[in-house]
């Protein structure tokens, strides 16, 4: 049906029949978890984001797409105030989560980051054991009451991130001994372990093989039951497979945000269509 109405979109971008649709239908009714209004962002003098206005409903997967350097990571990092740690940066505009302005001076940034987890573009495991990496957030936030509970949570997180079978025999060995893709999954496990409300993922599958990628994608679709997820991806098929809504960024501006199905079949903007069909970018 979709490909019939829009023959120019290659068929691999169309949604698989089995997933996402049913849940998508229900999402527009969901209340907004995150709202962003008139957000400008500056690295020193150079402006990286221009007047971003966007709302992200609860329990939804939103994909951020756009060419390299268009501000996807910057935008993602404004949502948990991770840009605060970069000197000389400046934010204007408003970001609210559950109705609270996260840039309000009264906001507890530590608590914000606990609730809004993040998987970074470059994997960054701590130079500690695999177990201690995943347990770090749990210990910091005193989530677990006993050692067995801690071990259970670590195991669950590693299973969710599709790393358990490879890691279970070497939990107490250095995380730096893992392969690049394994380290990426470890960082996903680490973020999942503390069960944040929102998960920001910056290209979580960029170093993964197709099997691990599909496991992570399944996980994302699963996680949507409980969490709000924002994922940056350069992989159009991936965006189409996992997300309900897609936002297209270009040169620091939000060009279009629409249901994924619409973005990939009948985008409002010509430039979105050009990007998706690979005519540039």
């Amino acid at each position: 049906m979709m490909s019939a109405t829009t023959p120019k979109i290659p068929s691999q971008f169309t949604l698989p029949q089995d997933q996402s649709k049913a849940s998508f239908v229900s999402t527009p009714a969901a209340p907004a978890k995150i709202t962003v209004s008139d957000l400008d962002f500056y690295y020193g003098r150079s402006q990286a984001l221009f007047q971003i206005t966007l709302s992200i409903p609860e329990r939804i997967v939103m994909a951020l797409i756009g060419p390299s350097g268009c501000g996807k990571s910057t935008f993602l990092r404004t949502l948990n105030r991770m840009n605060d740690v970069i000197p000389a940066t400046r934010v204007e505009g408003q970001v609210t989560i559950d109705g609270n302005d996260i840039y309000d001076p009264g906001t507890d940034v530590v608590d914000l980051r606990r609730r809004v987890g993040m998987v970074f573009q470059k994997s960054n495991p701590f130079p500690k054991s695999i177990f201690d990496n995943v347990a770090y957030g749990l210990r910091i936030n005193r989530v677990t009451k006993s050692k067995t509970e801690l071990a259970d949570r670590v195991e669950q997180a590693l299973k969710d991130a599709a790393l358990w079978s490879e890691a279970k025999d070497r939990l107490h060995q250095s995380a730096l001994g893992l392969s690049g893709g394994q380290q990426q999954r470890l960082c996903i496990a680490r973020a999942l372990a503390i069960r944040p409300e929102v998960i920001l993922m910056d290209e979580p599958a960029s170093a993964l093989d197709p099997i691990a990628t599909s496991k992570i994608e399944e996980l994302i679709v699963d996680l949507k039951q409980q969490y709000t997820i924002v994922i940056v991806t350069h992989n159009m098929q991936q965006a189409a497979r996992v997300s309900d809504t897609t936002a297209f960024f270009l040169l620091g501006k939000l060009i279009e945000v629409n249901p994924t199905e619409k973005i990939f079949t009948a985008p409002d903007q010509k430039v979105t269509e050009d990007y998706i069909t690979g005519r540039f970018g």
């Binding site: 948990n80 991770m82 740690v85 993040m118 970074f120 910091i140 730096l176 960082c187 503390i194």
Partner: protein, 289 residues
């Protein structure tokens, strides 16, 4: 003809190739020769000290305190004194130095931090005898006598800037992404520093601390003004205390051959002590992950 083509053609010429090999071999030989020379001089010194000193080293020499010329005697009190002085200075100098280094690297932005960095750099350059005279003025004179405590303070003052600067450099090497990773999990800044950044830099920090210990364990001048020296085992920190370096100094300038021999032996002991500290610190701070 464009540049790449030119390069390609040049590289095909056998003369250019030979030239490159010869240069490479010459440079390798030169650096190897420099290394050999530097290490060789060091080895000669070590061997000479061992050769001169080993004859006078005995269990009695290591345990006894000094005796008048002709009666033998040993350096037991000086060994113990040096260890006490190092423990005193390390217990003050390391926490302070590491704290300053952590502050400078993790929190030190703006005017105050650059001023502090400048002060630390200046302190590193102060001759140790000046530190000795300074401590003499502010500790020894008011208390009216030389003491182990004053010696420990003088050595600690020498340690602090060395430890602070190496700590700062080591912590700066910890990638920013690690800090972000911890912050993103809801860790407060101080826990990121204590739980992630410092452990990641631990072996480097320990190396810096060890260098500082090695450096102050060779100090003599500041101790002459502070711990002064003693020919007995001392039991109190507010009394003068012996140290290997001061003992070596006073025996070396004495007119007696027996004491000269003992000075060589004490030097050998001091070097072994420093080597022992080095190995121990390396062992305890070796990279686990």
């Amino acid at each position: 003809m464009n540049v790449t083509e030119e390069l390609r053609l040049k590289s095909k010429l056998p003369r250019g190739d030979r030239h490159r090999r010869v240069t490479s071999a010459a440079m390798t030989a030169f650096t190897a020769a420099c290394t050999l020379f530097a290490v060789g001089v060091l080895l000669v010194i070590l061997a000479y000290i061992a050769w001169q000193g080993i004859g006078s080293v005995s269990l009695r020499f290591l345990l006894d305190s000094p005796r008048p010329v002709g009666e033998g005697g040993g350096i037991g009190n000086a060994i113990l004194g040096s260890i006490v002085l190092l423990l005193l200075s390390s217990s003050a100098g390391m926490p302070l130095g590491i704290s300053v280094g952590v502050y400078l690297s993790e929190f030190g932005r703006g005017r105050f931090a650059s001023l502090l960095r400048f002060v630390v750099d200046t302190l590193t350059g102060i001759p140790s005898i000046v530190t000795g005279v300074f401590v003499y003025t502010i500790v020894v004179l008011p208390l009216k006598h030389f003491s182990a405590l004053a010696g420990g303070i003088a050595l600690a003052l020498i340690m602090i800037p060395i430890v602070a600067r190496t700590t700062e450099e080591m912590i700066k090497l910890v990638p920013q992404s690690l800090r972000e990773g911890a912050l993103a999990l809801g860790a407060p800044q101080w826990r990121v520093t204590l739980g992630v950044v410092i452990p990641a830099a631990a072996s480097g920090i320990a190396t810096g601390a060890m260098l500082a210990v090695a450096r102050v364990s060779g100090e003599t001048a500041p101790l002459l003004f502070t711990a002064f020296g003693s020919r007995f085992f001392s039991h109190y920190l507010d009394q003068p205390i012996a140290s290997l370096t001061v003992q070596i100094y006073s025996y070396a300038i004495s007119p007696y051959d027996e004491w000269h021999a003992q000075a060589w032996a004490a030097t050998l002991v001091l070097m072994t002590l420093i080597l022992g500290i080095n190995i121990a610190v390396r062992f305890f701070t070796r990279k686990k992950f």
